[in-house]
């Protein structure tokens, strides 16, 4: 979805078992829910005239 939205250079960090020991752990386990960190960029603007014809 990030790339579909126009972001580039997507990086995804390690999964974190964020619900471990919490009340929501059972539901999280059922659907293999983990926390992740993401990084992505808005593409830089191209100088005028640098686009493809």
């Amino acid at each position: 979805m990030l790339t579909d939205s126009g972001f580039t250079g997507v990086v995804i960090g390690e999964a974190v078992d964020t619900f471990d020991g919490a009340k929501g752990e059972d539901k999280a386990r059922a659907y293999e829910v983990y926390g992740y960190t993401f990084m992505a960029s808005r593409p830089p603007e191209r100088p005028a005239g640098s686009g493809r014809r």
Partner: protein, 201 residues
Amino acid sequence: MAQDLPVDSHALREQVRGKYRAVALEPGAGFHFHTGRGLASRLGYEAGVVDALPDRAVESFAGVGNPFSLRRLVPGEKVVDVGSGAGFDSFIAAGQVGPTGQVVGVDMTAEMLAKSRQTGVALGLAHLEFPEGLAEALPVEDAWADVVISNGVINLCADKRAVFAEILRVLRPGGRLQFADIANGRPVPAEALRDIDLWTG
């Protein structure tokens, strides 16, 4: 497109607002997720930085990852925190960008905003503000931000494409989105996706 969303955006927003009103007012009440200093430690935040923050800055923290783990912010950067809650990540960001930077924490829950604003004043952070707003309609100018951060918020928005489009709008060209959120490894049944109660716990 709105007609393709599994739940009504406004109804979900009210459900989320109610849940996080409780997290702001009764952070120790016990939720389906962890909160506070224990959670910050679990997610790998720098202990010294968290220890230096007052309890009210940390106790309502309910993130799902550490948006600073892939890249530390740079002094002078302008940052937008989408769904800033009681301000925990905004305070971390304010420390990393320093007084030459700026941080705008946006949230839709009045009780969270009141808490973050009071803490920001108490900490004397003049380069930090907390306006009210929605992830889908950020009160920020086009291309203002060097970095957008967020933590455990986008999964609570029905129209994620609208949120990403809005983030793209406020980022400058070449700017970065650094966020943490949950993702499921197994598909959630369609009927569960339409059950609004399951979105918030």
